[in-house]
């Protein structure tokens, strides 16, 4: 679905954020992108929908090459890629419903969107999505009245109503508490499963990445240093990605536990410092 070839990004300051990255994400695959702050995770996904202009390389969405599209073709291509942001990025003074419907902007003309006269099918879909994430009763609340977890759900609805082929998810849980983080991650993964979406999830929480995705890519200083299943993420690999630290506890926590128990225990581990070992 998505194929990235020799993607490179050099900022005007001269910093090389991405060094010739090659990556392929097939249809229906949810992939976690891990790495320390400043590794270029955010730059990578922003180069895909060109919120950041790549300096070299190619990006293919299906058969369409994105890196050299003109502005109107780029807009059409962007409608096929949903994006979910770290700080939710809802337009705070618009209502929940307007925020969700703003995902359809690429499909309706200016005057229709200005008068808020969206096609009934869009509105039905918006209500379906809000119901799916449990927020249909909040449709007319203003976005800044919502809690963090609720805002992120609205952000997910906005991305999904685009009817995208690909989801770009940028640190979805960074501003959330541990429990909500898990709920949001589970929701994103379930929705991708239901709709057979490809997704790239930027995440710095290795535990969450291991718990919810089947493929992990490690990025360090703009280059891919690991690409494989979560259970092969050894302390050596983590050290290579993040630097020296004691990784045993992190890996222990996910072994031999089913997900829900892991949820609770991982939180406990974070608080207390040692994982328990229930039979």
């Amino acid at each position: 679905m998505l194929r990235i070839e020799n993607l490179e990004k050099r900022y005007q300051t001269g910093d090389l954020a991405l060094k010739s990255v090659n990556l392929e994400v097939p249809k229906g695959q949810v992939m976690a992108l891990i790495g320390p702050s400043g590794a270029g995770k955010s730059t990578l996904i922003r180069c895909v929908n060109r919120l950041v202009e790549p300096t070299a390389g190619k990006v293919f969405l299906g058969d369409l090459e994105l890196a050299h599209l003109g502005s109107s073709a780029l807009r059409r291509a962007r409608t096929r890629m949903g994006m979910i942001f770290q700080e939710y990025a809802l337009v705070e003074r618009l209502s929940v419903m307007e925020n969700v419907l703003s995902g359809r902007l690429g499909y309706v003309g200016f005057w229709r969107s200005y008068l808020r006269k969206f096609p009934q099918s869009d509105i039905d879909e918006a209500f379906n999505l809000l119901q799916r994430v449990g927020l249909d009763h909040m449709a007319d609340k203003r976005a800044d009245e919502l809690s963090g977890g609720q805002r992120q759900r609205v952000g997910i609805c906005r991305a999904l109503i685009q009817n995208p082929d690909l989801l770009l998810v940028d640190e979805p849980t960074a501003s959330l508490d541990p429990k909500t983080s898990r709920q949001i991650m589970r929701l994103i993964c379930e929705l991708c499963e239901e709709r057979q979406l490809a997704a790239i999830i930027n995440i710095h929480d290795v535990l969450l990445a291991q718990m919810f995705t089947r493929r992990i890519v490690g990025l360090q200083l703009g280059a891919i240093v690991y690409d494989g299943p979560p259970d092969q993420l050894s302390p050596d690999v983590l050290t290579q990605i993040y630097g020296e630290e004691d990784w045993e506890a992190t890996i222990e926590a996910t072994k031999d536990l089913d997900e829900d128990e892991a949820d609770v225990l991982a939180v406990a581990e974070k608080v207390i410092g040692r994982p328990g070992a229930p039979s």
């Binding site: 209502s95 009934q120 509105i123 039905d124 209500f127 007319d140």
Partner: protein, 271 residues
């Protein structure tokens, strides 16, 4: 509720019908008021002059170039006066504005029921009258000249400075003051240790900001006889000496730009 069920699918509107009508009605009312005002103005306008204006403007512009540079010798004095009006006027205003502000701020006023309303009235009266009107008044009362300009600028600026300053005083961090009170300090000590250090940057910023505005305003006070470069502007326009007018406009422009630069520098140095 903006949403309602219709044939099984929910229909969504941004606003309920009643709200939507209110919005439309508001717009209608606004447009009607505007059109009405415009009609009244247009009735008082001689449209022949308006259609003739581009020609007039071109004519005036051609008479304005080149500026009469030699006239500059006469202008140095008025420029000096203009700067003095703004500077001394601002100083006077600050000296008076500080006690007024402390009386007007809810947390420092000696009496909420008597002193505060008086202080607030001083602020409103000073602010609502333009400095040109103050100058007009003072020229009638104490005669034309720089002094009228200085007092006019001073009176107009009291309200401005006092308003911003008392808002700054009301927004201070109260816990710092509490800490000073807890040491057993007297009211005067609370003021000088708890409140003054917190409002000092705001105070300096407000003074410089007002000085900058006052330079602009003092360039026109001469139009009513209150000194400064406006006197020359008025005289040159009434004698149709357009080359002098263009030079004066350039001088005003330069003064304003320099004062803006100076105030930006000072603000930078303080903060």
């Amino acid at each position: 509720m903006p949403t309602r069920d219709h044939n099984g699918s929910k229909i969504w509107h941004l606003r309920s019908t009643k709200h939507q009508l209110a919005v439309w009605f508001g717009w209608l009312l606004g447009v009607a008021i505007f059109v009405y005002c415009w009609r009244l103005i247009s009735d008082k306008t001689i449209w022949f002059f308006v259609t003739d204006a581009p020609k007039q403007a071109a004519d005036m512009a051609s008479r304005m170039v080149p500026p009469k540079w030699s006239y500059m010798d006469v202008l140095w004095g008025p420029v000096w006066d203009t700067i003095n009006i703004a500077t001394i006027g601002t100083m006077i205003a600050i000296v008076i504005a500080v006690p007024v502000a402390f009386c007007a701020a809810r947390n420092t006023t000696p009496s909420v029921h008597f002193v505060r309303p008086v202080a607030l009235f001083i602020i409103v009266a000073s602010r609502s009258i333009n400095s040109l009107i103050w100058a007009l008044m003072l020229v009638t009362l104490i005669g034309p000249g720089v002094l009228a300009g200085v007092i006019a600028i001073g009176l107009r600026s009291i309200g401005f400075c006092a308003k911003l300053l008392y808002e700054a005083i009301e927004e201070i961090d109260h816990s710092q003051v509490e800490a000073i009170i807890a040491t057993g300090a007297s009211r005067g000590q609370q003021l000088s240790f708890g409140i003054v250090p917190q409002i000092m940057p705001a105070f300096a910023g407000i003074s410089v900001f007002r000085w900058d505005i006052n330079i602009r305003e003092s360039t026109v006070l001469g139009l009513v006889g209150a000194g400064g470069i406006g006197l020359q502007l008025d005289a040159s326009i009434s004698t149709l000496a357009w080359t002098q007018v263009s030079l004066i406009l350039l001088v005003i422009l330069a003064t304003v730009i320099v004062s803006e630069w100076v105030s930006a520098k000072i603000r930078h140095a303080i903060i």
